[in-house]
């Protein structure tokens, strides 16, 4: 569905991401995990078509970047438009046939009906993040890319968001790639993890494989955390 080959990003002489391969199959959920500055956001921005790679190729099965839904860490929406207006506008910009209908359906699916006519600036953090996510779905994508979607949310909001996201991906058969710094979150919600460290992908596989590769017990709840820290060189 989405295939990146040798995707790299340089800012003048600074290498933000070394050539990286990544494949995303339909319905698959992949977590990009790594510490700050590892290159997670850089990789996601290039996959989303926001940032141009310095080298490498990106292929989206559907053929256009419009089929990719992008959820940046900081909500990307018009603060002084209402939830409904934001959804209608982005659905229209994405060129969907019935933007008004699409907006109403998204309001229902994202549980935003009671906030429909409230300006985005007046929403709580969690609700705004749901709107941010709903906007990403406005173009009826087949791939959803999320940059640390739960970074600013409370535990309760995190739980609600993942419940909703999981249901959405199952219902629509969406492929999903998300970045996180939480090993636990990656373990819970991703079928596969890609570990990034210092601009380089150092591991690509399941969480159990990661633990095994680092010599840990896959049934030990803390083993994944230790394995990750060893891999990124932050185990003390």
């Amino acid at each position: 569905m989405l295939s990146a080959r040798g995707l790299a990003k340089r800012y003048r002489r600074v290498v933000a991401l070394e050539p990286t391969d990544l494949d995303l199959a339909p319905g698959e959920s992949v977590a990009l995990i790594g510490p700050n500055g590892a290159g997670k956001t850089t990789l996601l921005r290039m996959l989303a078509g926001v940032s141009r790679p310095s080298e490498g190729t990106l292929t989206v099965a559907a053929g256009t970047a419009a089929r990719v839904g992008w959820v940046p860490q900081r909500p990307a929406l018009y603060q002084r438009l209402t939830c409904r207006e934001n959804l209608r506008l982005f659905a229209a910009l994405e060129g969907v046939p019935d933007p008004e209908g699409r907006a109403e359906r998204l309001l229902e699916r994202a549980d935003l009906v009671r906030f429909a006519d409230r300006q985005a600036a007046h929403l709580s953090t969690g609700t705004m993040q749901r709107l941010n996510l709903a906007i990403a779905l406005a173009g009826e994508p087949s791939v959803l890319l999320l940059d640390e979607p739960t970074a600013t949310l409370s535990p309760e909001q995190v739980h609600r968001l993942w419940t909703w996201l999981t249901r959405l991906c199952q219902e629509d058969g969406l492929a999903m790639a998300f970045s996180t710094q939480s090993v636990d979150e990656a373990a819970r919600h991703a079928g596969r993890v890609v570990v990034l460290s210092h601009g380089r992908a150092v591991f690509d596989g399941t969480m159990r494989e990661l633990v095994r590769e680092e010599g840990g017990d896959p049934d030990d709840r803390d083993a994944a955390e230790r394995a990750f820290l060893r891999l990124v060189g932050e185990d003390g």
Binding site: V50, A65, R80
Partner: protein, 449 residues
């Protein structure tokens, strides 16, 4: 096609957000109106006559006969009042008014002004005391009064020379004389020559050729004087008016300085509206983080720049039209040719908008964009208002401010549409394109980092 549709969608969003902000609308319309009024008042200040205290120490009420004209102090004052607003005061009041700044200068007509003029023995001296606190106005008054005195002197000189020429005619041809209060009869050179010729003929008839010869030098003298007087006429005319200036008034219905003032006010208002609105509109896309969505192929940087530029141009058109309607209803300025005004307002709005979008593309946040827009636009706008300075014209001509001011002035002042208005329109379009291109490039670099 998709780019155009999406640009229109964003334009609709921007207009909706403007409509949703009554405070912003009030500022957008109210601020330019206030600025326009203030700038117009400031620029029209030079059009008012300066106030000058007038002290008349010649209270005799006498008049002076100069040729066929009879001049009094009142006639002289009437002439001065064409140039300055005269306030008749006593000497002490005038001094106090000057000290208090109520008048810019004190003009004193001396005692014996008319009699000195009448006698012609010495020139009467008018004194002008100006205020050092208002040096610019004082200098203007001095120039105006010097010009008035010069013109009056010129008229008097012409009258006096006319008198001299009439005297020359009297000497030549004879007649009654009334000059400087004296009257009498003159025989004249022509008649004198006739008398002497007749006398010579009589003397010849009675056989006195010696006496005939004695009279001959007198006749030669008369002839020589006559020839010299013939030369004196054109010489006297030349002295009366060595150089003449022909002054005529232009067509009525226009007030050039008011037009300059209003064109300046339009430039300041629309310049700030266009630049600040475009800068804020673009930077708010970044502040809302919406650029990261738009940059994914929904709208190219060029189309986004175009949308914001058009948005600013529409705002300039509306605000400019409001100002023009107010001016048309409340002043005598001739505001017509609405079709050309629409073109001028839209093109200048595009130029201002493109400038603002460039600022917005370079700034990281809205507040920075607004501050930078204001700091960059203000000096450039005022450079555009500086008349007759090549460097200022060059700099403001590199932006939309110079050509916009030229277009506004042309539409307000010129009774017919000159061909160079279209050149100015082309200049505005070019500037808008260049700045839009630069903004698109800057945005492209930022968006895809």
């Amino acid at each position: 096609m998709r780019a155009l549709r999406n640009a229109l969608l964003l334009l609709g969003k921007d207009l909706r957000l403007i409509r949703r902000s009554p405070a912003l609308v009030a500022v957008l319309v109210g601020y330019p109106v206030v600025v326009a009024v203030l700038v117009a008042l400031a620029l029209q200040g030079g059009e008012r006559k300066p106030t000058v205290a007038f002290v008349n120490l010649d209270t005799t009420g006498r008049t002076v006969q100069v040729g066929e004209q009879r001049l009094s102090v009142d006639d002289y004052v009437a002439r001065l009042e064409r140039e300055v607003d005269l306030k008749r005061l006593g000497p002490d009041e005038a001094r106090r008014a000057l000290d208090d700044g109520q008048v810019t200068a004190v003009l004193t007509l001396p005692d014996g002004f008319v009699s000195d003029l009448q006698s012609g023995v010495r020139s009467p001296v008018i004194s002008l005391v100006t205020s050092p606190r208002q040096p610019i106005e004082a200098e203007a008054i001095q120039r105006r009064l010097e010009s008035t005195v010069y013109r009056l002197n010129q008229e008097l000189a012409e009258t006096y020379v006319g008198q001299v020429l009439r005297l020359v005619d009297l000497i030549d041809q004879g007649g009654s004389i009334a000059l400087f209060g004296r009257t009498g009869d003159l025989v004249g050179l022509g008649r004198s020559d006739e008398i002497l010729t007749e006398l010579q003929r009589e003397l010849g008839r009675i056989g006195r050729p010696d006496l005939v010869r004695k009279i001959e030098p007198l006749r030669a003298y008369i002839e020589g004087v006559g020839e010299n007087l013939d030369l004196a006429r054109p010489a006297a005319n030349a002295i009366a008016s060595p150089i003449k200036l022909s002054v005529s008034e232009g067509p009525e219905g226009r007030e050039p300085l008011s037009a300059f003032g209003f064109a300046g006010a339009l430039l300041v208002s629309l310049g700030l509206v266009g630049v600040l609105l475009a800068a804020a509109a673009l930077s708010s896309e970044r502040e809302d983080n919406a650029l990261v969505r738009l940059a994914r192929g929904l709208l190219s940087p060029g189309a986004l720049v175009g949308e914001k530029t058009v948005f600013a141009a529409l705002a300039c058109l509306v605000v400019g039209a409001v100002l023009l309607v107010i001016v048309a209803l409340t002043t005598t300025l001739a505001v017509g040719r609405w079709g050309l005004w629409v073109v001028a307002l839209l093109l200048s709005g595009l130029g201002f908008g493109a400038f603002g979008v460039l600022v917005g593309a370079l700034a990281r946040e809205t507040r920075t964009a607004l501050l930078a827009g204001l700091m960059l636009a203000l000096p450039l706008i005022f450079l555009g208002l500086v008349p007759g300075n090549d460097a200022a014209a060059l700099v403001s001509g590199l932006t939309a401010f110079g050509p916009a001011f030229a277009a506004y002035q042309t539409l307000l002042v010129e009774p017919s549409v000159p061909g160079d208005l279209w050149v100015t329109f082309g200049h505005l379009a070019l500037v808008a394109l260049v700045f839009s291109g630069a903004a698109g490039w800057a945005l492209h670099r930022r968006a895809h980092q």
